[in-house]
Symmetry: D3
Subunit: 138 residues, 6 copies
Amino acid sequence: MYTVCVRDHCMIAHSFKGEVFGPAQRLHGATYVVDVELRRPTLDEDGIVVDIGAAGQLLHDVLADLNYKNLDDEPSMAGVNTTTEYIAFEIFERMALRIRQGELGESGTKLTSMRVTLHESHIAWAAYESSLTPATLE
Amino acid sequence: MYTVCVRDHCMIAHSFKGEVFGPAQRLHGATYVVDVELRRPTLDEDGIVVDIGAAGQLLHDVLADLNYKNLDDEPSMAGVNTTTEYIAFEIFERMALRIRQGELGESGTKLTSMRVTLHESHIAWAAYESSLTPATLE
Amino acid sequence: MYTVCVRDHCMIAHSFKGEVFGPAQRLHGATYVVDVELRRPTLDEDGIVVDIGAAGQLLHDVLADLNYKNLDDEPSMAGVNTTTEYIAFEIFERMALRIRQGELGESGTKLTSMRVTLHESHIAWAAYESSLTPATLE
Amino acid sequence: MYTVCVRDHCMIAHSFKGEVFGPAQRLHGATYVVDVELRRPTLDEDGIVVDIGAAGQLLHDVLADLNYKNLDDEPSMAGVNTTTEYIAFEIFERMALRIRQGELGESGTKLTSMRVTLHESHIAWAAYESSLTPATLE
Amino acid sequence: MYTVCVRDHCMIAHSFKGEVFGPAQRLHGATYVVDVELRRPTLDEDGIVVDIGAAGQLLHDVLADLNYKNLDDEPSMAGVNTTTEYIAFEIFERMALRIRQGELGESGTKLTSMRVTLHESHIAWAAYESSLTPATLE
Amino acid sequence: MYTVCVRDHCMIAHSFKGEVFGPAQRLHGATYVVDVELRRPTLDEDGIVVDIGAAGQLLHDVLADLNYKNLDDEPSMAGVNTTTEYIAFEIFERMALRIRQGELGESGTKLTSMRVTLHESHIAWAAYESSLTPATLE
C-alpha cells in the first residue's frame, strides 16, 4: 500500500457543551495542524499516488472554509461539539466529497482510503480514517 | 475509525542480558516519550472518543509507577529484558487493565484498540498495539 | 551561559483590530506551545540553573490564567491586539513578576535573562526576550 | 503487534517526466529522512523485535547506494519517475531482499510486515508498506 | 527584543568542489526547510513585529528563485560552493534587499536583525544572522 | 555570524543528591539528544564553517565516552550532580579540548563560540554556551 501525506493548518475558536469538558466549555480556540494521508495499492502511470501539489491545494481550500472562524457560529456544525475528533471527521467528509467530484483528477478516484489527523498541541492529537470505496465516493 | 492520542514521558535506568545488546548490557538509562492512541469506530454522545483529560491523567499515573526507577530492581519485571518494545507492551497491559476497571468511564469501555509508542531517541522508537475486545477487557 | 527550558501550552480565542490582519480580524483562536528559557552564567550549589520542576509548575500556573479563555474579554489586555508577540511579552512579564516574588526560590533570583517563545503553528512562532537585571527584578 | 522503527537519511538529485510535475520536471533534489518500521506479532527470546543496531546499520547500507547521487543516472531506476512514493517502494524492496538474505539474523525472518516512510519536507511525506510473508521473503 | 519566525522550504540539486566534501562532490540534492527570524526591540502600533503573512510571502518568493533548480547552473552562484551555510547567507542577502526595498512595509524598516536557518536533515542545520542596521539596509 | 549544528544522542543512568530533586534522587536514566552549534564570523575557502562530517564524528566520539554508562560511577564526574545543564557543560569542555587539539582541522581553530544543547524530553532541555577565544582554545 502506498501513502502520500500533506500538511497544512487552521486556527479556530469554539466552545463545548457538557460537564466532561470542564474549562473547555468556555469560548477558547485552537491551532489544528492537519495531516491528510491518501492511500492506494498501486501507483499511476506517472509513478505517483496523486498529484501532491493538487492534494495540498485541496486541503488548503477545505481548511479555508474553517480558518479564522468561530465554529460556534457555523451553521453546518450547529448543535454538535466541534471536538478535535469531530473536526477530523468533518474535514474527511469535505475532502472525500471534493475528491469524488474530481478535484484530484483520475488518480484521485483510485484512492482506497484516507486518514485525517489534527494535532492540537505537542501532547495531543486526534484522527479519523475510513475507506474510500466506490460506494463511499458515489 | 476515530483515534485520540495523548503524550507523556518517563525516565528510567536499566540493563540488558544477551550478547545482542553489546554495550547496552551495562547499566544505562532512557527517556521514553510515550504516545498512547485510543480507538473506537464511533464517537460518544459528547462527540469524543474518550475524555482526553482523563486519558492523559491515566497515562501519567501509569508512567508514575515506572518513572525515576531502575527497572532492574522492579519485581514485576524480574527476569525479563526491559527493552523498549517490552515496556510498550507492559504499559499497554497496565493501561488496558485500568481502562477495564473503569478509569476512563463508560466511553472507555467502547474502545476497540490501543497502540502504545515509546520514542527512545530522535532515530528510534518501538510500539505495541492490540485490540481491546471485551475478551481482552474482561 | 547556562539555559534551561520548559514547555507547556494554552488554547485561547481572540480577534485583531487593523486591516493588516485580514481574516484574522474575525474571532478565531490558537494553540500556543510555549517555551520558557531561563538563563544564568553559573550553576547553583545543586548543579542546576533553577529547579526545573518548579519552573514547569510556574509556567503552568501562568498559562492557567490564559487557558480556555477569549482574550478579547480579558480586562488586563483591554485595548491591545493580543498578537503572538504581544502574548509572549505578557507571559514574560507575568513570569518575571513571580520569579521576583520568589516562586523559583533563591536560585531564581540569580537568573540574568529569560526568553519566551510561542509556537502558533508548524510554520510560525514569535518570541520575547529580555534581561532579568536586579533593576528589572525589583 | 510489535513494531520497531529506525531513522536515517539520504540526499539525492533527480528530475521528473510528465506535465503533472510542473517545475519539478527540472533537475532538482531532496533530502529524504527515512523511517523503516519492522513488525512481528511476538518478541524473540531476547525480548526484541530484531536487533535495532543491526536494523539501523542495514538501513544505512541501503541508503548508501542512493546517497549523494543523481537518480537520473542510476541504471537500476532507468525509465521510471523516482518519486518519493516510488523510492519508498524501492527501499522497501532492497531492505526485504537483504532481510531475506539473513542480514537481520534469525529474528529478521520472523518479521511479518514492513513500512518505509520518506519525509521530503516539513509538509509532505510518502510511504510504502507490505507484508513480509515467507512467499515475499523467498 | 521581539522575534517573529516564518518557515518554508525549497528543493535543489548541486555539487561541491573540494576534497573535504567527499561523496558530496557528486551531483546530489537537498530539501532545505528554511526558518527566517525577524527581530526588533519594540512592536509597531498594530502590536506586531511585522505583517507575518507578508513575511511568509516574501520568503516564499525568495525561495521560488531557488526552488526546483540545479544550483550548479545558477549564474548568480557561479564559482562558489553552495553549501548550506552559504545558501543561508544568500537567502539573508536577498531577504534584506527586498525588505530594504519596502516589501515588508514601514514596519519592515524597523527590523534590527535577521537570522536565516536551513535544516538540511534531522541531524544537521546551518544558519546566518546579522544586524539590519540602516547602513546594511541602505 | 555563521552557525552549523550537528545532532547525536546518548543514553545514561544516574542519580542526584539534594532534596530539590525529589524522586530523581533515585537511580534513573535519560536519553539526551545533543545539538552542538559551532560558530564563526566568516566561511573558510571551501565555503563552510567547518567540515560537518568531521564535526558529527567528533560529537559521536565525545558521546561514546558517556553512552550506555551509569554516570554515578564515572571517576571524572565524582562528587557532582550530573544534571542536564552540567552534562551540557561537560560535553562543551570535551568538544572544546579536542577542537583545540586540531580534530576539526584548521577551520576548527577559527570557531569563535559553541553551544551544546541537551534535549531530555519533549518538554525540557538545557544548554551551555561560551566563546571559544584563543585563550579558551590554548
